[in-house]
């Protein structure tokens, strides 16, 4: 057999019926994650057509986008949010889908919950009505976001008609400097290839810098594949992956584990396989990376300045930059480190796992937050929250002057009360700096957990080395 990429192997393994004459392949879906926002119309569609959920045992739901991160024992105040969550509860009961509701230990952001339960594994196809489903590709799974029509399609058939994605290798070689993390890698990649650079592709992240990342770091990278336009991103599974999966509630055991390992060991891009596109990034020279604009591709190194649109040659890029600077209320040439923030948001499906919280806590520990800055820390799931509390992270956040919240999507998209006020500026560990994303008129700088922590201490966009330099100076 001709050498194949990992993406091609994952695809081939799930073809129910191969399309001919330009028709799509019919692809089997191993795991369907469901949440309250993109599913109500899909369940309605099933009801209208009189169709059941074909495989409730390959489907799982949780509540995350609308859920409050305070007073979770009280009814949700906002009526439309409450109705949407009640609708999910009714639908799951009617169609026999397992649901992790608010208050359940496994409740949380859908892309934190799947891996934590051991439901996300190498060699699977995973979908969800959420573009950040690309997160699960960190396990060597083909995972991608779908729209509500496709949610209904998967509920009804456990398949999707799709044409294979093109493949792009993104090789990141070298060793990360202190203060640089997975988030900086992916922000730098998006700045390099642009928000449309990955359209039509699945991105395979490879190279020594990727191999040395924890699963949490790999999830951060795959999570933001969609911000480069790619529906999916993958990392070939290795010992780090297997160690993470083993022993989790849904992980295979005994003979089934051996069978799985036999299959998983084949999940890598073959020597000689050809990608449709290749991109290289040098990890050694990478600095903390932050965004200055209103799309995730508008980023620079933290030590850099706000770029000047006048120097941009591409007309669309220039127009977008002018508009972004106006919205962000920034002047070209301003040092990124001179930009003050009102809020630091530590959370979202990009950066709310235990590793992220540990990193954040290790930097703020012993400090007090900058005056006037609101610091919100929102764990990705109820379980992550408990695990963090067992390590005393909640105390560190509270002693710092930060708010320790309950789990959910929270201020990443402000569907619950956690929002920026108009004109407010945030350093946010989330994934999108679109206009109004975190609240009408709110301004977002995307940052890593380390930069978020240092920024919370100093009040202006900062790296951990700025904090330690200050300590020495004092």
């Amino acid at each position: 057999m001709a050498p194949r990429t990992l993406a091609q192997k994952l695809w081939d393994d799930h073809i129910v019926a191969r399309g001919s004459n330009g028709e799509p392949d019919l692809l089997y879906i191993d795991l369907h994650l469901v949440h309250e926002v993109t599913s109500p119309q899909a369940f309605d569609g099933l009801r209208v057509a009189g169709r059941p959920v074909r495989r409730p045992d390959l489907t799982i739901a949780t509540e995350d986008h609308n859920t409050p991160t305070l007073n979770i024992d009280k009814p949700i105040e906002e009526p439309t949010s409450r109705i949407q969550i009640e609708t999910l509860r009714k639908n799951c009961e009617e169609f026999g889908v397992r649901l992790h509701s608010l208050g359940d230990i496994e409740q949380g952001i859908v892309h934190v919950v799947g891996p934590q339960l051991g439901l996300t594994m190498p060699g699977m196809t995973v979908v969800c009505g959420d573009s950040h489903t690309s997160t699960h590709g960190a396990f060597g799974a083909m995972a991608f976001g779908i729209g509500t029509s496709e949610v209904e399609h998967v509920l009804a058939t456990q398949t999707l008609p799709l044409k294979p994605f093109k493949t792009m290798a993104i090789t990141v070689e070298g060793e990360l400097n202190p203060g640089v993390s997975a988030k900086d890698i992916i922000l730098a990649i998006i700045a390099k290839i642009g928000t449309g650079g990955g359209q039509g592709y699945v991105l395979e992240y490879r190279g020594s810098a990727i191999r040395s990342l924890s699963m949490d770091g790999r999830m951060t990278i795959c999570n933001m594949s969609i911000e480069a336009g790619a529906r999916a991103g993958i990392v070939a599974p290795d010992q780090t992956t297997f160690d993470y999966v083993k022993g989790r509630p849904h992980a295979p055991q005994g003979a089934a584990w051996d069978e799985a390992m036999e299959h998983w060991s084949t999940l890598h891009t073959d020597e000689g396989a050809v990608f449709d596109a290749e991109v290289f990034l040098d990890a050694n020279t990478l600095e903390p990376f932050v965004t200055w604009g209103t799309n995730p591709g508008q980023g620079v190194s933290l030590s850099d300045v706000v770029p000047d649109p006048a120097a941009m040659t591409d007309e669309h890029e220039k127009a977008a930059a002018l508009r972004a600077l106006e919205y962000m209320d920034l002047v070209p040439g301003t040092r990124m480190k001179d930009i003050p923030v009102d809020t630091v948001f530590m959370g979202s499906c990009t950066n709310s796992r235990l590793d992220d919280l540990r990193t954040f806590a290790s930097i703020i520990k012993g400090h007090t937050k900058a005056e006037g800055v609101r610091v919100m820390v929102v764990p990705g799931s109820a379980r992550v929250r408990l695990e963090a509390e067992a390590e005393g992270i909640d105390k560190i956040v509270e002693d710092f002057g930060g708010e320790w919240r309950f789990a959910g999507c929270s201020m990443c998209l402000g569907m619950n009360p956690d929002q920026l006020a108009p004109g407010e500026r945030a350093a946010s560990t989330s994934n999108r700096n679109f206009e109004g994303r975190q609240g009408k008129g709110g301004r977002t700088h995307l940052v890593s957990p380390m930069v978020a922590a240092a920024t919370a201490i100093r009040g202006t966009l900062s790296s951990p080395s700025d904090v330690s330099a200050e300590m020495v100076g004092a």
Partner: protein, 200 residues
């Protein structure tokens, strides 16, 4: 689903690249549990500006949106497509689309016509000369006509066929029920199920 062969309406110029789905419909409108009634939510923030193109009464009943590259990037929310349709937008023309948006549009009968960038530029120029001029998007001929402009657009064969025949995607997949069942029997036993939960 309704069969679609051509759509026609006034060309609506949206001189912006990277129009993300958060702009097309902000998250606050995603709390609804229905599939229609989103016309008021379309470009909600931008419509607060009286000079925004959709506030021009020429486009009060919708039309064919002509946008800069990378239209529909970001979130998977199909609400973006529903809102465009509810407003009366029957087709979007752009040089590049977000993958999920384009797929959602194909499922819902909103034409996402991918063209060369110079075609967008010439359509914008034509609309500037003749505001309100109609654009006709012909799925059968795979071309766009506006004034003297005739330009081809890209659409994948399968989506085109399905839209022209008005076929339901789910029905088409369920016709393969036997193949799905055969596939299910061959799946490895290590693959996880959500019911019942296994214990650690």
């Amino acid at each position: 689903m309704e069969k679609i062969t051509t759509v026609e309406g006034p060309g609506i110029p949206l001189h912006q690249s990277n129009v993300d789905t958060d702009q097309i419909i902000p998250a606050e409108f995603l709390k609804r549990v229905t599939k229609t009634g989103y016309d008021d939510a379309l470009f909600y923030a931008w419509r607060q500006d009286p000079n925004f193109v959709l506030n021009n009464e020429l486009y009060a009943n919708g039309g064919v949106l002509v946008a800069g590259p990378d239209f529909g990037i970001g979130s998977s929310r199909e609400h973006a497509v529903w809102a465009l349709k509810d407003f009366g937008v029957t087709a979007v023309i752009s040089a590049r689309f977000g993958d999920i948006f384009r797929s959602n549009a194909g499922k819902q009968g909103l034409l996402a016509a991918k063209v060369r960038e110079d075609v967008v530029e010439s359509l914008w120029a034509e609309i500037a000369k003749n505001p309100g001029i109609a654009i006709r998007v012909d799925l059968e001929a795979r071309d766009i006509r506006c004034g003297d402009i005739v330009a081809p657009f890209e659409v994948d064969d399968y989506t085109r066929w399905r839209l022209m025949e008005g076929l339901d995607d789910i029905d088409l997949s369920l016709q393969q029920a036997d193949a799905i069942e055969r596939f299910e029997q061959s799946r490895g036993s290590w693959r996880p199920t959500t019911l019942p939960a296994r214990s650690a």
